[in-house]
């Protein structure tokens, strides 16, 4: 295995809400153009860890963050808490929430409005991008004749794919995915997993997962979180040993 460039490096990160420590001294590296997955029991701080990478935790009153998160954009490393505004950062880091989160607007407005507001992209290209990303997440066939319908009328799985499409349309460099296949059936989940392995050629992906099967299938690196601290970090070759990951999870959860 070749030594990969690090896209995100988290050092001694601690996050607390109103004095309660949620993440405690977390350090980890996310290699570029690969899939890093976070697993851990409910409430172990997975979502909080993801949100610290696009500084969304700050939007809650009483949040305090210590430590550093560095990200390298086209070769140069920047401290995202010091050198960038949250807005500049979030334009480069796409996020899909744990539960489907669409605007209560039409399907097409969900995709077109962010393109207009964030990147000021012209009308024609907006529509081209919309079709491209909807095809990419295999939603196009299902919605092409009802783009004007409200997005909340879509099923949970369709909404989740729409959210992924929306994140992709904005062409970020890093994708944060919070259980992207949680509300999908096995078949659609399989499609998304396939898509993610394709996407890692273009993006650095940091995802939360709840499925050992999925981790084994597509992750290049896995981080096991427990009680706000990192219990183990495993590379692809480690967790391919049959039973190892299951054993660890059994032990830690």
């Amino acid at each position: 295995m070749t030594a990969q460039e690090t896209a995100i490096s988290v050092r001694a990160l601690s996050v607390g809400f109103s004095g309660r420590t949620i993440l405690d001294d977390v350090s980890m590296d996310v290699p570029r153009n690969s899939i890093t997955m976070i697993i851990g029991p409910s409430g172990s701080g997975k979502t909080t860890l993801l949100r610290s990478v696009n500084r969304l935790n700050e939007e809650f009153a009483g949040c305090s963050t210590a430590g550093s998160v560095k990200m390298s954009f086209s070769g140069t490393a920047v401290d995202i808490y010091r050198d960038l505004t949250p807005n500049e950062l979030r334009r480069r880091v796409g996020m899909v929430f744990q539960s489907p989160n669409v605007f209560p607007f039409s399907i097409q407005k969900n995709l077109l409005a962010p393109l207009r507001l964030v990147h000021s992209i012209g009308r024609k290209e907006r529509h081209q991008r919309m079709e491209r990303v909807l095809r990419e997440v295999e939603l196009w066939e299902e919605v092409c004749d009802r783009l004007g319908d409200n997005a909340v009328t879509l099923s949970g799985g369709q909404q989740q794919r729409l959210c992924l499409a929306r994140a992709l349309a904005l062409s970020p460099e890093v994708l944060l995915l919070d259980e992207p296949t949680a509300s999908l059936d096995v078949r659609s989940a399989g499609k998304i997993e396939e898509l993610l392995t394709k996407l890692k050629e273009r993006y650095t992906i940091l995802a939360v997962s709840h499925s050992i099967r999925q981790v084994k299938l597509i992750a290049d690196r896995v981080v096991i979180l427990s009680g706000g601290a990192i219990a183990r970090t495993l590379e692809h070759r480690d967790f391919q040993n049959p039973g190892l990951l299951e054993e660890l999870v059994e032990e830690i959860f």
């Binding site: 807005n87 979030r90 605007f103 039409s106 407005k109 409005a113 507001l117 964030v118």
Partner: protein, 293 residues
Amino acid sequence: MTVRPERLFVAFSWLAAGLVAVSVGVLVAYLLMRGWPVLSSALLFGDTPWLAAVLGSEPVFDGIYPAVAGTFILIACSSVIAIPFGICCGIYLAEYAQGRLKAIFSFMVDLLSGMPSIVMGLFGFALILLMRRTLFGHANTSLMLSSACIALLILPYLIRMTQVALESLPDKARLLGLSLGYTRWQNILHVKLPAASTAIFSGIVLSIGRAAEDTAVIMLTGVVANAGIPRALSDKFEALPFTIFYLTAEHRNDTELQTAFGCALVLLFITGTLFFVSYFIRKNLQRSWGQGE
């Protein structure tokens, strides 16, 4: 026999709802009974032809049309002042104000909303007295002053409704735009305000209703009987609630009292229509936010 508390509670709730329905029913029925017979174009326009009255080419002496027009003008003027201020102030309190400043502003708004309307009227009246004694010798109570005082009266509704609507949005909705890279302002304008628009609109409707019915404020600040239709902001004016008040207070025969009931019915009809229209506007508002690009 033991009565389960749930049964008792359900029975009481049912009774409470029923009582409200009966009260409203009786109220409206009585208003209709007394007011309906006098409802005619003569009630509105007296002997003046209605077209001439509406165009303003002939004055109306015996009808309540000037009061109807006055009420509409008063609502329009006070809304123009209060709505932009109220909504912007609400946005400021919900989105930008912090710490001690927010506490101070919130206290001021609470204070304002607790202010009885007669006090607001007194304030307007005192203001005119002060102006007369100082720089503006000709200052007088007028439509302008009434509108300003009414605006002050309805301001807290608008502020609070906007603020609460924005602050009670779920975290999901609050964070989504930001996660996509919207600026704070874009997130307010394109995500939060649309999501809060229904509630904000309800605040507007409520405050317009309040502006339509208030009597205490205008009595001290510019309303008079038989003023006719105001031609300028500095004119005196008539308004329906005040007309109802003085017709009732000074009626010499049953016909005049009857007219007051007619007035009340017209006022009820106007506010009812306002609520109805606002319902449709709100529907369309939601649809138009949702569509397009």
